[in-house]
């Protein structure tokens, strides 16, 4: 029997309304349910129990950095002195908050090797949009208005080309070499006076470090263009390699990945932007400025070159406070350990899966914080697809890895264990993957019909799009 909140149709206590509002501006009825508080509590508690989550499951989800979300970060971010602050509170009454945000700006600048940071973008994609808009503003301020094109590797996250388009750019995609590095000949051929910049992740979405990055930076800068760093994979090099020192001019950080703030079933994130000094004037407003005892939000008038304001206030403050708590708790040695153990866990799984017979993409390369396997051999042997392997993993209480991304590798799974998983958790994953491999060859129907043991069987997404029932 389907449970729905819309079945709770008590009349409730009708409300007497005395309103000083003309009747023609009012509505006649409000077609919402009136459930009891206990009905609400039970309904949503039961719904929560139908979810996988970090708190209940291992999430080897490539490119998403699903690590443990420390509860102390939640606790301090939601202290009433922070959570009840209205955004229009004058700075004099918000010094504790502003000081914490000023510290975070400084810490992120140090971690990234950049000159200045704006915390305001609400998510990675908004950070990307800010970054490419800054590249646009930089060229325009120099009168270099013909630079209307952004270069992006084919394997990049989909947000990269979508963000470039939202900033008014055309996009050219660049190929990668068979070893996973960028094709420098293609880069040279694509560079020219109409190219504004290039968007790169490093490590790339192929799970390997771009070894030629200094050469790439020299080529791009030599052509008068700029380098944007997509911080999605920063967990791999946290505290070890600074994007600013690799030659990047502007970047975003995904605080909801690298800095352990929760994904919340889809958000909120935070996409803080960091920039080298020549791009710093264009950072989105507002930033925290000032010094101890006199911190404040900078005014628009102080930042005439800024690309402007991306949301109504100063960004996802609650997320920023969690990231602040994470850095404060770990310190510089703790942050360096993050990348070390993220790499250890990923390389351990990569070697373990290879020993089981799985095909590892770029097997001759070191894994970073993630790596790719392809199940094309299983597909040829028994028509099992990456999707089926992913769905079968769910039966074992393990969230599916990212599948069919990057699209360069056929039938691929992108696996990122993160540093917060124990060896025992990884060993169990290896056991499960060995069993799935056996099943794929011996009883492939078991995979094709998976999952078997979840609240629902495989969901019909085609019917969903055809019927398009999206509200009651």
């Amino acid at each position: 029997m389907e449970e729905t909140i819309f079945a709770c149709q008590h009349e409730g206590t009708p409300v007497e309304l005395e309103l000083a509002i003309p009747a023609h501006l009012l509505r006649d009825d409000l077609p919402l349910p009136n459930p009891s508080e206990l009905e609400v509590l039970r309904h949503y508690t039961r719904l929560s129990q139908k979810n996988f989550s970090i708190d209940t499951n291992f999430y080897p989800l490539g490119s998403c950095t699903m690590k443990y979300n420390p509860r102390i970060a939640h606790e301090v971010a939601t202290l009433p002195g922070f959570s009840r602050l209205h955004p229009a509170t004058p700075a004099v009454a918000a010094q504790g908050l502003l000081r914490s945000l000023a510290e975070l700006q400084g810490w992120l600048a140090e971690l990234t090797g950049m000159a200045a940071v704006s915390l305001s973008p609400a998510a990675g994609a908004q950070g990307e949009l800010a970054g490419v808009a800054m590249i646009r503003a930089y060229h325009q301020a120099r009168g270099d208005t013909q630079r209307q094109r952004i270069l992006i590797p084919q394997a990049a996250h989909g947000t990269n080309p979508a963000s470039a388009r939202m900033a008014g750019f055309a996009v050219t995609e660049l190929p990668n070499l068979p070893n996973g590095d960028l094709d420098l000949d293609a880069l040279r051929a694509a560079l020219g006076p109409e190219v504004a910049g290039i968007m790169l992740t490093n490590p790339s979405t192929l799970g390997v470090f771009e070894r030629q990055i200094q050469e790439v930076a020299a080529l791009v800068h030599g052509a008068g263009a700029l380098l944007y760093y997509d911080g999605a994979n920063l967990n791999a090099i946290l505290g070890r390699v600074k994007p600013g020192e690799m030659g990047f001019d502007v970047m975003h950080l995904n605080l909801h990945k690298t800095f352990a703030t929760p994904h919340g079933g889809g958000g909120p994130g935070s996409g803080a932007v960091a920039a080298a000094s020549r791009l710093a004037p264009y950072l989105p407003v507002p930033r925290v400025v000032g010094e101890a005892g006199s911190y404040r939000w900078e005014s628009h008038a102080e930042r005439p070159e800024s690309i402007g304001q991306l949301s109504a206030y100063a960004g996802n403050i609650g997320v920023l406070l969690r990231a602040h708590a994470y850095v404060r708790r770990l310190g510089h040695t703790g942050l360096q350990r993050v990348s070390a153990y993220a790499a250890l866990n990923a390389n351990y799984l990569m070697h373990g899966l290879r020993r089981q017979g799985y095909t590892v993409a770029f097997a001759e390369r070191r894994a970073t914080h993630e790596f790719i396997i392809s199940v094309q051999d299983l597909h040829k042997a028994s028509a099992v697809r990456a999707l089926d392997v992913a769905k079968r993993l769910l039966d074992f209480g393990i969230h599916a890895p990212t599948i069919y991304f990057p699209q360069l590798v056929p039938e691929c799974l992108l696996i990122e264990p993160t540093e917060t998983e124990s060896k025992a958790s990884l060993d169990r994953f290896l056991e499960v993957m060995a069993q799935i491999r056996r099943e794929a060859l011996e009883e492939p129907e078991r995979l094709r019909n998976a999952p078997h043991d979840l609240p629902v069987r495989r969901v019909d997404e085609t019917l969903a799009a055809r019927r398009l029932q999206v509200a009651e």
């Binding site: 819309f6 309304l17 501006l25 409000l30 929560s48 989550s53 922070f82 229009a88 109504a312």
Partner: protein
């Protein structure tokens, strides 16, 4: 090691399995010149120390009774809302791409979409955008996709200035022009334009406007219809418990509705995280930005939910996507859905009516003070402009010592506004004693001059 479980024996065994001697060897593909360190950052600290530091910072300012609004409001949030929303199964879950492992989040989002379509009187709702202002920018882009020959959006000066700045940042990059329409200074309402706008795609209709005044939305929607303009409604979701739903404005209703979701169970938190909502007509669903959940069935024919029409989104369509948005504001939507269910129709109407009634009372109390005026004649919901005999920022600062955040000086939102104007908001949290306290404190501060 905080949050890293490996002991030295496990680390050694894993390194051996990989075939390297040391953790540093895992980074041997990175050019030596790029290997850096971050010892300029502070040392870490224990959980107790961290809590102590942050408790001290959070307590530096004594709590203030909040009469500030301008898009974010101090509402009561029932205890049950975050009790459930912060359950690990919601808090630490990923985006529900794997439908079978995410039925809880998916059904909740489907219920959210249902709530929002009913509140706004529309047919389709997405599963959230970053905030109200960025949702409005997305609505404008959507309107331009629906009217590809048009280049302009008409924006009343009654739109909140900080929302207008977001449009100024996001839309001109794509060659879109923003044209301002003036408000009548006496009524505080939008003046019906006398001219045609042949290059415009849409008219933005904020109900309530930035002075707290209610607009004649039917007349404005009629005007837009007769000029072949799409109508983009900007609404406060709590006010919609009482106010006419945008789907019923004019003859044809609004085309797209957006708003700031913060009044629905989201803490003020100095400006975020909040969430933006966007609802629209069914015909426009393929131009919708952001995630959308549909009801379907599983392989056994049982009801199930999943994300749908993902070909609109960046992870499939890349440069051709309707928006670059990926991560949205899921956890805030979780809270808002539980909030809407907990209050129910009756609770929402009661909260909205109480906010309105207390604003009426406070407005009357304050207007009796010497030198204080009400510059706008139009009807209000829970927010109004007060014209003070002294500059509003200094009056606001003076009231801090009395424990009140008295409102938002308009000049701080828009430097061209009258420096004496203060925007004051009430909610259902504004008790009678708070209104009396505010009035006597304001009388005292004004008397000091």
């Amino acid at each position: 090691m905080p949050y890293i479980p490996h002991d030295s024996a496990e680390t050694a065994a894993m390194l051996e399995a990989i075939g390297v001697a040391r953790l540093e060897d895992l980074f041997d593909e990175i050019p030596q010149a790029l290997q850096s360190d971050v010892s300029a950052l502070p040392e870490g600290c224990g959980e107790a120390r961290l809590r102590r530091e942050m408790e001290e910072r959070a307590a530096e300012q004594a709590p203030l009774r909040c009469f500030a609004g301008a898009g974010a409001y101090a509402h009561h949030i029932p205890a049950i809302v975050w009790e459930i929303a912060r359950r690990g199964e919601f808090y630490s879950a990923y985006t529900p791409y794997q439908a079978e492992a995410s039925q809880g989040t998916l059904q909740l989002l489907y219920e959210f979409q249902s709530f929002m379509t009913r509140l706004t009187g529309m047919e389709i709702s997405n599963a959230s955008l970053y905030d109200g202002a960025s949702a409005l920018a997305e609505a404008c882009l959507m309107a331009l996709r629906l009217r590809p020959a048009a280049r302009e959006i008409l924006i009343p000066e009654g739109l909140l200035p900080h929302w207008r700045r977001v449009l100024d940042a996001l839309l001109p990059m794509q060659g879109i022009r923003l044209r301002s329409l003036p408000q009548d200074p006496q009524s505080g309402r939008l003046l019906l334009p006398g001219e045609d706008f042949p290059e415009a795609a849409a008219l933005i209709l904020p109900q309530i406007n930035r002075f707290g005044v209610l607009e004649e939305v039917d007349a404005l929607a009629h005007w837009a219809e007769s000029h072949n303009l799409l109508r983009i409604a900007v609404v406060n979701p709590l006010a919609l418990a009482l106010l006419k739903a945008p789907g019923d404005w004019g003859e044809q209703g609004a085309d797209i509705v957006v708003g700031e979701g913060q009044p629905l169970g989201v803490p003020l938190a100095a400006g975020g995280p909040y969430f933006g909502f966007l609802t629209c007509r069914r015909d426009y669903v393929r131009q919708l930005p952001g995630r959308l959940v549909a009801k379907t069935v599983d392989a056994a024919g049982q009801v199930a939910y999943c994300l749908t029409l993902q070909a609109r989104e960046q992870h499939i369509r890349r440069a051709g996507a309707t928006s670059n948005i990926c991560t949205n504001q899921g956890l805030l939507v979780t809270a808002a859905t539980i909030h809407l269910a907990t209050l129910g129709a009756n609770g929402l109407r009661a909260a909205a009516a109480r906010a309105h009634q207390q604003a009426q009372r406070l407005r009357a109390l304050l207007a009796r003070l010497p030198g204080v005026e009400l510059p706008h004649a139009g009807p209000v919901f829970n927010e109004f402009v007060l014209r003070l005999p002294r500059p509003a920022p200094s009056v606001r600062d003076g009231l801090l010592a009395h424990g009140f955040l008295a409102g938002v000086p308009l000049i701080e939102l828009n430097p061209a506004d009258d420096p004496h104007d203060l925007l004051v908001a009430c909610t259902e949290l504004s008790e009678d004693e708070d209104l009396d306290g505010y009035a006597s404190a304001l009388a005292g501060v004004l008397g000091e001059a």
